[in-house]
Subunit: 304 residues, 4 copies
């Protein structure tokens, strides 16, 4: 710490309702780590955290922390509608040796900024692990407004912000606020914005595509960080192409997740069962993903 680089939001391999695909999980973890990533983020949106039972969330944290064995830091999403349950996962993650927890606003009643501040204030005060804020207004209804971020920075337990708003004006606002805190980590969510965000001061990215081709994102991060403009442009193009081809077979926020899980299944990494209320692609959509993976020549990349 402070965290720098690519921290993939790991999908949660499932083999059925509320059952882990254990062999798939083990393969996936090694696959991601082999890409040279600097951290691993469990139970985020991509990890379908809120959709899983608590027993399964705990099992996942146990297994992954054991398998990673401190090779890289593990971050654990504790976003939940219930404060008490968020805290319980945080304690469990601490016991398992996780590095930090990641917290988005509870998504049922949208809190105002003052309620949101007090919520994080309380939770960070009780959490045994440091807290990353997770700005995700698309799914959580409310954002951490810049002024709220400024106030939260003063809390000792708050160590980073993952911005998944896809709003670069917001990003610039927040970067200005956090740059006075050198130990703070500012990570960007949407992989299509990784290159420019890193060039503008982000410390890394939480890229869903890094489940599939982790090295690509690690290389792009490096190229952007070291200002290798040509390399960054070329890798950024590839990231755009992946997003355009794999995340858009179904529209809506869930289309990204279904496409990613289906692609992981097609290349043999893990099963593509999803947590309710989502369901895996039908055969038609799956064949589309398969065809696009070929066009992208992803399979070779994964197997190499």
């Amino acid at each position: 710490m402070p965290l720098r680089g690519i921290v993939p939001p790991m999908v949660t391999p499932l083999s059925g309702r509320d059952r882990l695909d254990v062999p798939g999980l083990e393969r996936l973890v090694e696959h991601i780590l082999s890409g040279g990533v600097q951290g691993l983020f469990l139970l985020g949106s991509t990890g379908e955290g809120p959709g899983l039972s608590y027993a399964l969330r705990r099992e996942l944290i146990d297994r992954v922390c054991r398998q990673v064995a401190r090779r890289i830091p593990v971050l654990v999403g504790i976003t939940d509608t219930s404060y008490a349950e968020s805290l319980r996962i945080a304690s469990h993650a601490a016991d398992d040796g996780a590095e930090a927890v990641v917290l988005a606003p509870p998504c049922y009643f949208p809190p105002g900024q003052d309620d949101l501040y007090r919520y994080v204030h309380n939770l960070a005060g009780e959490s045994p692990l440091p807290v990353f804020l997770y700005n995700m207004p698309g799914l959580c209804k409310v954002a951490f407004e810049p002024e709220t971020v400024r106030r939260l920075l003063d809390l000792p337990g708050v160590v980073g912000l993952k911005d998944s708003s896809a709003d670069m004006i917001y990003f610039h606002e927040v970067r200005r606020i956090v740059r006075e805190r050198p130990e703070f980590s500012l990570l960007v969510g949407p992989e299509q914005l990784l290159a420019e965000a890193v060039r503008c001061g982000a410390h890394g990215g939480v890229c869903g595509g890094a489940n599939l081709v982790p090295r690509l994102y690690v290389d792009l991060y490096e190229a952007a960080r070291t200002d290798d403009r040509e390399q960054a442009a070329s890798l950024h193009e590839r990231v755009m192409e992946i997003a355009r081809l794999l995340y858009t077979v179904e529209s809506g926020a869930a289309g990204y997740l279904k496409g990613l899980k289906c692609a992981l299944a097609c290349v043999g990494l893990c099963d593509d069962a999803l947590a309710e209320p989502l369901h895996r692609f039908d055969d038609l959509s799956r064949s589309l993903i398969r065809e696009r993976l070929e066009r992208l020549e992803i399979e070779a990349t994964v197997r190499s």
Copy 2:
């Protein structure tokens, strides 16, 4: 069953973080029942269901079912981002003698209508209790579209719909669909629409204000049902006035809940602690509520 009449969505009296206000709960239950209501709905939006720990949700169901002792049917909200946890609450509710469960779409990744159908299909198939659909697009991002309602009606476990959309055109669409099923219950959420919805074929209402003045809503339901136009108009006016004065001290969806809980505290029924991420009114807002309660002459009503 089929359920008809006023089914208050009970607030969950809390005396602190994740702790029930037990004496307040007992008072509140008796107060509501004394108003002549036809059912009691726990752990809905008003009951802050998703915000509570599972242990507390179970304790609440236990206590209320025991206290109500089948005097009226108890419905239990099982809306949750996790399917497995929803099902566990349903089982617990069944063990305690609840009559039915109430299910809104999981509010994290918004499902498409087909995913939503399959989600309810699966859950209703496994639930030990019959299921009321809970249409609440304002908080859950997606609605049960009329065509989805039509498909879900064919499932044996689906027995009712609570429509909290505040969209009367939607209500008319759905009413047309459900009227072929005489055993089905169509309830309306916003109390400001109770009178017209009942006149147009709703079987009852899930009125938050019935925590405070249950008799008012029972009387309005009766007046609307029996087409006592003058009485309905006069009681409807009072409902509008309560909503205008007590639910608007703070703007946003949570303003209703904070105002209602504060009013219940002011009249001495129960504590007004809220589940995180919400927090009770400050003194200024509370004095506003107190003053408006006086203007409404609510206290006398409650004490009588």
Copy 3:
């Protein structure tokens, strides 16, 4: 005045880009008047007012005012992004003998409530004709909030409100405010809400379907007004059926307008050209409308 009853928002029959279908217009006006309506509203949303050139808007006002010849009051929509142009149409309408103008918030930069108040204050002060407010947040981004309505009521030139929000809670709020002004007209937009709005105190409706079957809406208004419950329920069903079948062939706000114009063309009343940026249905959609008109047995109604 005050205006009471059905005031159809007339579609503007076009035979091409910015050219009136004059014979169609004449037929349509007589057809609507033959239904016993109490007013005629030109250049609203349904009339595609903002989409037409000013020359064509003036020609339309001229022709219709001449044809109607004060048999019923004519209202003219002056909603426009430009204040000066709104005022010029108002003057033209006054010269032609129109009764009032109808004004929604300008739809480009959404004004705050204070800007909106001052805008109406200024415009109503300069308008030679009395002003109906037109609440249409779906297309105009902002609503006339109840408190703004209350302030605007004090202006001498403001004589009515057409509420097209489809939000019955809003309607009840506004009705409470305006009922202290017996000379004021409160009209409801969505025809699916005509029955209940009239029962709750609306003075009439601005029903798009009244272009096609004006008598139906006039009869429904009468049934609701006189509290003939059975008759109102039956006519309301028919209104719902028309909306469900004719306005939904294409989704989105424009689907209503395209469906309505296509239906008018199918029954031979007028051409179904639309003002840019909209375009008439293709053959497939048109055949769907034709088929549904048969199912509704509308043609017979129109011809009789």
Copy 4:
């Protein structure tokens, strides 16, 4: 042509309702041109185009084209709810020697993508001047989706796109599409995104702040274009500061415009009257702007 660089969206100096502030206009034009800008864009959102009468729009085009006298290309916004009026302004602009017109989707009935394509197809076919698309979903409700941009690129008259969506993922999508057309101009709207957009392939920016300090934006464009990283970062900071201080005194989309016009008045460039339905800041807000201008040391910049 093709257009490259900074093309300020000029505010329209008004001295009252529908009256130009002619001396202010003349000062403002020279002030902007003195900054070394590469074009001038009249009657956009910042220019309150849709809010002005047609007579005033014509007068403005006349005066500015005469004053600019082809020193730089003049672009003219023709966005309007009425196709015929848009075309008339285009003709007027052509007669006056403007270089191109700029067209956003009509903002009343939101068109679908197919209607939108046909609308532009028709209008670009009739326009005497080449057309820039103007993507502004925040005010126009709909975006030009990437696939629609691709189709529109094949039309001979479409020569550029101004993207004001503030959505950099969209920007990357569109940039990929347009880069096959070297004569095409891709401009970015929000000035806070100018630096990164230019580094990622934008050909320039349409920056509102360039009304006030045009040189800053010209310099930032050059720094970004030539990859002078340090200079770009420093100028970008200043742009962010201007936006944060001057555009946020009032919230909402109009707050930017009111703040900008007020600042222009404070430094003595032109009057800050706004077109209805907006109104200039009150004294309190104006003193806030004045104070912030001092903090920014803008006045010295302007006077120098």
